[in-house]
């Protein structure tokens, strides 16, 4: 088994003159959960997109299951991505097909399952996120919370060993937010590696074995929730003492 399911070594990224990430290094062991915290615009989502190869770093390397994905071609990257699920901040459901078809999409593309088995898995994944009745609905007919849950069902469709989650509770009511936390917690307990970007400190406390605070594109602090609360950095302490959700 790989030492780290996800590893970033000295990753830097700039868009034009704006440096978004500066020499970021982190590692998430298999089956563990890491939450990336930080204020808006500190490079949290950009970090996630590096892990799935949507953005290539200007400097540094990104490893997934000990494989350097920065040197992979499109075919290699596609192979690695099949082992990962990604929940986008706005769910990014394909809006021209139904919710059920969204969840079935990865199964149709990457498995040779029969139609009956695909439909069974779609029902199972939608039931897992509490959307049993929404399979036939179009994404535009769903509320923000339902869309996020449908996005999570799609991200989990292939039972990935790594789940990348961008702001799972942003814009959601506290109850829906807790439901999503419980879903992610269940995935972690089932052995899935989680890398979660969040503003929501209570959420991060529940989910994260380890928390990372990003500030101005660099890691300001790293540790367990308890360790960060005792941090000598006022910014980190202030962040950990906040109770605001996303």
């Amino acid at each position: 088994m790989a030492d780290a399911a996800i590893r970033l070594d000295g990753v830097s990224k700039a868009f034009g003159t704006h440096h978004v990430l500066r020499d970021v290094s982190l590692a998430v062991p298999p089956g563990r959960a890491c939450c990336i915290l930080g204020r808006s615009g500190t490079g949290k989502s950009v970090t996630l997109k590096h892990v799935i190869g949507l953005i290539r770093p200007d400097a540094g390397r990104v490893f997934v299951q000990d494989e350097d994905i920065t040197s992979l071609d499109a075919r290699g990257l596609s192979r690695v991505r099949r082992g990962m699920g990604f929940l986008f901040q706005n769910a990014a459901l394909f809006d021209s097909i139904s919710v059920g078809e969204n969840v079935a999409f990865p199964l149709r593309r990457h498995t040779r399952l029969r139609e009956g088995e695909i439909q069974r898995r779609v029902r199972e994944k939608l039931a897992e996120v509490g959307l049993d009745e929404a399979a036939a609905k179009m994404p535009a007919e769903l509320s923000g919370g339902m869309r996020k849950r449908a996005g999570l069902a799609r991200a989990m469709a292939l039972d990935p060993s790594i789940l990348l989650v961008d702001e799972p509770s942003a814009g959601l009511d506290p109850i829906t937010s807790q439901e999503i936390d419980q879903l992610l917690l269940a995935r972690r307990q089932a052995g899935t590696t989680l890398l979660v970007v969040t503003h929501n400190i209570p959420s991060a406390r529940v989910l994260g074995d380890r928390l990372i605070v990003l500030h101005d594109g660099a890691i300001a602090a790293e540790g367990t929730a308890a360790e960060l609360e005792r941090s000598d950095q006022p910014l980190v302490r202030a962040f950990m003492q906040s109770t605001g959700g996303g």
């Binding site: 799935i52 991505r81 099949r82 990604f86 986008f88 990014a92 394909f94 990865p106 593309r109």
Partner: protein
């Protein structure tokens, strides 16, 4: 006394500012054309590499080809009526009314049909592709496809470009046929020419060199429409306003390219298939 006011300074630098603006615009245009060329070349390369995404190509053919049929048929019919009226007005002076069907068919098949089809499809389909892919870009659906281990370029752009390439010659044939039919209706309203005689006369002077190259050149139009609108869609930024801009630009740029490239293609066709003297 020297005028050192800011206004004087601005006046002195105005020509350079104008030149700098022109240079920046030229660089932008070159950058756009370079990006577009690379995008098109990659599309041609990926079109012949597996997987071929046949189901998606068929879906796009239905959307681009089948759904454009009413527009093309109705436009062709109207163009045929108008062309027939103009042709009659010209040929009547020389007592050559019998040549009206042939004149109309040559005008339609050689030039009017392909060009009007290209421009109509650039309006209907180019705007649609630009807006659809642009919306997918700004809502991260293209990123979501990539994250699902799907080659978004191939799945979204190449399939649409292939569908445009295949659909244009078929739609041009429909346009030509509808145009000749429209010409017959216009002619039948003022003479007693039968449908059989009209079509016999229409195809009297049509040769291989008139029909096939002119119809097949629309594959190039299809490539331009698909590539321009897909490229602009993939490059969309700026939210819903950006999507609107992409939609408009897709139509404008593909229409301009069709008109310009058509000149080159007609010259090539005349070179390889010289008109019978």
């Amino acid at each position: 006394m020297n005028d050192t006011s800011p206004a004087a300074g601005a006046g002195a630098s105005a020509p350079f500012a104008w030149l700098a603006g022109l240079g920046a615009a030229a660089l932008d245009a070159l950058g756009w054309f370079g990006g577009f060329s690379l995008f098109g070349a990659r599309a041609l390369r990926d079109a012949v590499r597996p997987p071929f995404e046949l189901a998606e190509i068929a879906r796009q053919m239905f959307d681009i080809g089948w759904r454009s049929l009413p527009l093309i048929a109705a436009s062709g019919f109207s163009v045929g009526i108008v062309l027939s009226m103009h042709t009659r007005a010209s040929l009547e002076r020389f007592g050559a009314e019998a040549m009206i069907p042939a004149g109309l068919a040559i005008a339609l098949i050689r030039e009017t049909g392909p060009l009007v089809t290209g421009l109509l499809i650039s309006g209907r389909v180019g705007a649609g592709i630009g807006a659809e892919l642009g919306a997918m870009r700004v809502t991260e659906q293209i990123d979501a496809l990539e994250a699902t281990a799907v080659d978004a370029f191939k799945y979204l752009a190449v399939t649409r470009i292939i569908a445009c390439i295949l659909a244009l010659p078929l739609l041009t044939t429909v346009m030509n046929f509808a145009g000749i039919l429209g010409g017959f209706v216009a002619e039948a309203a003022i003479s007693d020419m039968s449908l059989q005689l009209y079509f016999d006369r229409a195809f009297l002077l049509i040769e291989f060199g008139d029909l096939i190259p002119a119809t097949l050149k629309t594959m190039v139009f299809g490539f331009l429409i698909g590539t321009v609108s897909s490229y602009l869609g993939f490059e969309t930024t700026g939210g819903t306003e950006g999507v609107g801009r992409t939609s408009t630009r897709s139509v404008v740029f593909s229409s301009i390219l069709i008109i310009v490239v058509n000149v080159v293609l007609v010259r090539l066709i005349f070179f390889f298939f010289p008109p019978a003297g």
